[in-house]
């Protein structure tokens, strides 16, 4: 709990203690003994006012502020009108007093709100903890020493130094050094890009292997990452924000109740149907009875349960309004790399020439790549089951951007792409599989190729099946990757639609197009910086937390901690269950209210039924709300 919530809790506890003390004094006749018959009523009025104001003074202030700003009829107004109505019954000393109810409703409301605020705050903190909040910086050389400066301070044409593991802060041209760049977060392209002097680097890529000296070609504000973040801002302006459920509910319910109470109090006496005092009392009674005490506590509690339950599944929700939006999702749009696929490389096939043992091809390739730390080399070494005997390797040289040439067991081994084969005059043939193809030649003779590809996540197929089963009509994949790769993944996973070779801006356009045709809400699932604008634009943005970039986690509304796409269907399940419970409680609470109102009007309901109406419904609604927590 934060400072504010602790203060809030203390206030509620204090108010509760006073409330029960006053109640005891009242019930056991202490007040009546001290103040006499009419005096006791006024004394209890004054005493109940204390816990009421301690617990609810901020709600009253907020209602007043909102009225002044012309935004009446929210939940604070509903609470204010109903509770003040309850206290106003003091003007009719002969009727059943309602002060205790007024104070209790306010207390209930505050307890529910505190719970909800706690759940949202906890969820938010878990998400924030996943992001490394290290500020962006650029290294520049000053008097022979490297210093970190704000990227805003770097002028165009300055030389910055990017160390391995660091993010490229500003777009530029490499003047010195060579390295592999991880561009996955930016372009969705999973194969690292090789850069050397003269090559262009764009901000947001991660420098993986070597130190680069880069002459900047753009100021920070015009660099790729800054431009993408601008896209995020533009997208957020277009997004229709879902208001908190209880605010929307109050906006409809409050005016109905208030005007109905007003009508009851004013209209009949005006047309001469009875005394003013009578009808004003009836109007007040109506106002008090109609205040949905069970609702104001059970709605926030249901969301508390839903958010808490989801977080135990590794699904972090940034707010209760997003849980509601998620319940109405009927279209789910996926990014490919890192979302449906694992975003790492794996050997998916070894195609040896006739008469060659595939294990031999892999073993020779693994030895040739022994000294390379390129991600492709790492995946080959991982796929090789034996251990690498360095004594067998006489010599190994990397041919930049093409592959490696090594001498293993006194054979000349070439491992690399078609350009390497062509450069050494070796024949090769292409593969029907999609992915990165590594050709292997030994002593000038082609022995086969190894196919390396980004593999589809284990639970991706299940995820799409679950989503379809949950009534999601369309599952769409958007990717910056090549058409054939996209087609292969889409058909494997049974996706309804896919669009390939998209730039970040294109993705927003595609999502906007799909948004126009979707009936329900659209959820977008992604993990890269390039996904941030789309995550913002979609009705519900879902980011991958473990692999995802900070920008994506920040832009998203929901974060999946373990990167499992199958959790999306589960999250929708939790959201739907929560909303179902919320609606059940509303129907139940209002239904019982109306029933009691009718019975009371007919003279059938007595005091005890009314008590059940208030407390009983509240307890049942709370128990029902707690179900949202079980997942």
């Amino acid at each position: 709990m934060n400072k504010k919530q602790k203060k809030w809790l203390k206030r509620i506890l204090l108010a509760l203690a006073i409330f029960f003390a006053v109640m005891a004094l009242d019930e056991f006749g202490v007040l009546a003994a001290v103040f006499g018959k009419p005096g006791a009523l006024y004394a209890s009025f004054a005493l109940y006012l204390i816990p009421y104001l301690i617990a609810g003074h901020d709600v009253l202030q907020k209602a007043w502020r909102n009225i002044r700003r012309g935004e009446a009829f929210d939940e604070s107004f509903l609470m204010t009108v109903a509770t003040i109505g309850a206290f106003a019954m003091i003007f009719f000393p002969d009727t059943e007093p309602h002060m205790a109810e007024g104070a209790a409703v306010m207390l209930f409301y505050q307890v529910g709100e505190l719970f909800q605020s706690y759940a949202v705050g906890k969820s938010r903190k878990s998400i924030a903890a996943m992001m490394d909040i290290a500020p962006d910086y650029a290294n520049i050389e000053r008097d022979g020493e490297l210093v970190q400066v704000d990227p805003d301070e770097v002028a165009m044409g300055d030389i910055i130094v990017i160390k391995p593991g660091e993010r490229v802060p500003i777009d530029g041209i490499v003047i010195d050094g060579a390295s592999q760049l991880d561009t996955a977060a930016l372009t969705g392209e999973s194969v690292p890009r090789h850069v050397e002097a003269g090559g262009e680097v764009i901000s947001g890529c991660i420098n993986m292997t070597g130190v680069l000296r880069v002459r900047t070609t753009k100021p920070f504000g015009a660099s790729t990452v800054s431009r993408i973040l601008e896209l995020v801002e533009n997208a957020s302006e277009k997004k229709a924000h879902t208001e908190n459920f209880i605010t929307r509910f109050a906006r409809v319910y409050t005016p109905i109740v208030t005007f109905a109470a007003l009508a009851i109090a004013v209209v009949p006496p005006l047309i001469g149907m009875g005394a003013w005092a009578d009808w004003i009392l009836r109007g007040l009674t109506f106002l008090v009875v109609s205040c949905p005490c069970a609702l104001v506590i059970s709605v926030p509690l249901s969301f508390f349960g839903g958010i808490g339950g989801a977080s135990r599944l590794g699904i972090l929700v940034k707010g209760s309004n997003y849980l509601e939006a998620l319940a109405q999702v009927d279209t789910v749009v996926f990014d490919k790399t890192g979302t449906l696929t694992s975003g790492t490389f794996n050997v998916v096939a070894i195609h040896a020439q006739d008469g060659v043992d595939p294990d031999y091809v892999l073993s020779m390739a693994a030895h040739a790549e022994a000294f390379s730390d390129h991600p492709i080399a790492i995946s080959i070494k991982e796929a090789y089951s034996g251990s690498i005997d360095q004594a067998r390797i006489a010599q190994a040289a990397e041919e930049s951007g093409h592959g490696v040439a090594a001498t293993v067991d006194e054979h000349v081994v070439l491992v690399g792409n078609d350009k390497l084969m062509a450069a050494h005059g070796t024949d090769w043939h292409d593969c029907e599989l999609t992915g990165t193809i590594l050709h292997v030649a030994i002593d000038g003779a082609y022995v086969g190729h190894i196919v390396i590809a980004d593999v589809v996540k284990d639970d991706a197929e299940q995820a799409i099946r679950d989503l379809h089963a949950a009534g999601v009509e369309r599952c769409v994949m958007l990717t910056g990757d090549r058409e054939e790769v996209a087609r292969a993944v889409a058909s494997k996973l049974d996706l309804d639609e896919y669009h390939a070779q998209l730039l970040p801006g294109d993705k927003v356009e595609q999502v906007e197009r799909i948004l126009d045709t979707a009936r329900g809400n659209l959820a977008f699932v992604g993990d890269g910086i390039n996904d941030a604008p789309v995550l913002t634009r979609a009705d519900v943005g879902i980011a991958m937390g473990a692999m995802g970039s900070d920008a994506a986690i920040e832009a998203a509304d929901i974060v999946l901690m373990d990167d499992k796409p199958s959790n999306i269907a589960r999250a929708i399940g939790v959201a739907r269950k929560t909303m179902c419970i919320v609606h059940q409680n509303i129907v139940f609470a209002i239904g019982v209210k109306v029933l009691i109102l009718v019975l009371a009007a007919l003279g059938i309901a007595n005091m005890w039924l009314a008590v059940f109406g208030d407390v009983g419904v509240a307890v049942i609604a709370i128990l029902n709300a707690m179900r949202a927590m079980r997942v």
């Binding site: 502020r65 949202v120 938010r124 909040i133 924000h241 908190n244 605010t247 707010g319 309004n321």
Partner: protein, 72 residues
């Protein structure tokens, strides 16, 4: 000038959105962005009267979200 301030503490994403919209409408504010997740307010205004604008923003915040404080 663009400056980032920490907020202590904005409770829900909707409240953050409302406050952001209100700040954007203030005179002298060129741009405002509230990040609910990181609890940060990014404010953009003219260098010359930045402090005056900031004062107005603080006052507005106290009015709309009395429990939220801008730490400067």
């Amino acid at each position: 000038m663009r400056k980032v301030f920490k907020l202590d503490e904005i409770d829900c994403a909707v409240c953050a959105g409302k406050l952001e919209d209100a700040i954007k409408k203030l005179d002298g504010v060129q741009g405002a962005k509230i990040n609910f997740l990181t609890q940060k307010l990014t404010l953009e205004a003219d260098d010359d009267n930045f402090d005056a604008v900031l004062d107005a923003v603080v006052k507005l915040t106290a009015e709309i979200e009395p429990d939220c404080e801008i730490l400067r």
